[in-house]
């Protein structure tokens, strides 16, 4: 049956590597501790990792700098970078990557310890795929990998992700986010009224797709590509450290 084919393909792809090769991630962070952690997080989710300590080194690795060590056939599937770095910030690195013909299609994710809306906006506007508030958790990395490298976005797969999120979320107490600014969320940092609204909806059966975030209680501005990742807002992560484990 078609549905079970789709489901079993998804499960298979979770174990095996996508498209027959490891997802190769370039991680950029000036903090040795954070590099070690992100590297482990990525490896545990079956990614191949190259970690560098600066934007310049990242550009050199990619072959976009003068003293480049880049080589033909370098395959990078995602770049994840810290925002605050001495020398070149993650934002500047993002711009350079998006300005290059070879790597502009590579998704770039920004990490930052500061949950500053203006910063998030700026990065997203410049083409960042996502913005993660540090400290980075396994659920962040899994989420990224799932929505970027999962099988072609099929409804069944997406709401498997939803369901996981729901079961995580529904057991949690109400979350207030005093640190989160009062202004309306930008498209990609969906506030956590979304997950709550989903958990209160009658059922999430196999006919529901991601667009269930358009459900009545959602007070967030719904954004056109409403991918599974948006259910868990980056800002929500600030409050989650004491509450959830993956």
């Amino acid at each position: 049956m078609a549905t079970s084919d789709v489901l079993s393909r998804h499960r298979w792809s979770e174990k095996a590597d996508n498209f027959g090769h490891d997802v190769h991630v370039l991680a950029v962070d000036d903090s040795l501790i954070d590099r070690k952690v992100i590297e482990r997080l990525l490896k545990i989710t079956s990614c191949k990792v190259t970690a560098v300590d600066s934007g310049i080194r990242a550009l050199q690795y990619l072959g976009l700098e003068k003293n480049s060590v880049g080589f033909d056939g370098l395959k990078i599937d995602m770049i994840i970078t810290d925002y605050c770095m001495p020398g070149m910030t993650g934002y500047e690195l993002l711009k350079k990557i998006k300005g290059s013909s070879t790597f502009r299609e590579v998704p770039v994710v920004i990490m930052s310890s500061e949950n500053v809306l203006a910063r998030i906006d700026r990065c997203l506007e410049e083409g960042a795929e996502d913005f993660i508030v540090k400290p980075v958790k396994l659920s962040d990395v899994k989420r990224l990998k799932d929505y970027m490298f999962g099988e072609d976005k099929i409804p069944n797969e997406k709401q498997e992700t939803n369901k996981r999120k729901l079961s995580e979320i529904s057991s949690e107490p109400e979350i207030s986010e005093p640190e989160f600014s009062a202004s309306p969320s930008p498209p990609s940092s969906v506030s956590d009224s979304s997950p709550k609204s989903l958990s209160s909806s009658p059922s999430l059966d196999s006919s529901t797709t991601i667009s269930s975030t358009e459900s009545p209680q959602s007070s967030t501005p719904s954004s056109p590509p409403c991918s599974p990742s948006l259910l868990t807002s980056p800002t929500r992560r600030l409050k989650m450290t004491n509450l959830e484990l993956d």
Partner: protein, 152 residues
């Protein structure tokens, strides 16, 4: 002491560290990243944190002790400390860093000095506790047991 007792002691000790707010969920997250292929992951990361912190505290002591304090510099150090403490789940250290940064912004030398002292105290405390924790782990392993997974 037999393994079961050691394991219980470990869990109780860990729970107390969380209850006192010394550690937060991020530490538990690190524990979850540890496995047979990376059995010393937490120890390695925390050791890096100790090294990093000690250097930062030295740098901070010098910077805050200057006749004319360069608050930007001090803030940069504290920012780094905030990041690393946050990454390993050293919650109280991180919270002091947050306060510290606001004093840097205010360019309040007195408050910065006081914060630095507090930072040293909190760091020393969490370092001590973590070292105890690693010792308890080691005792379990030496007694032939497995270190129980944290549940938080």
């Amino acid at each position: 002491m037999e393994v079961g007792q050691l394991q219980r002691r470990f869990l109780e000790y860990t729970a107390s560290l969380f209850n006192q707010g010394l550690l937060d969920g991020q530490f538990a997250q690190l524990q979850q990243l540890q496995d047979e292929s990376n059995p010393d992951f937490v120890l390695e990361v925390v050791s890096l944190f100790f090294e990093d912190s000690e250097k930062l505290l030295n740098d901070l002591t010098i910077a805050v002790g200057q006749h004319i304090v360069d608050f930007k510099k001090v803030d940069a150090y504290v920012h780094q400390f905030k990041g690393s403490s946050s990454s390993i789940g050293a919650q109280r250290v991180r919270n002091v860093c947050i306060a510290f940064r606001s004093f840097c912004e205010e360019q309040n030398t007195e408050a910065c000095m006081s914060c630095l002292l507090q930072l040293k105290q909190e760091y020393s405390l969490v370092k001590d506790k973590l070292q105890n924790l690693f010792q308890l782990e080691q005792q379990i392993v030496e007694a032939g047991g497995a270190v129980p997974m944290l549940e938080y």
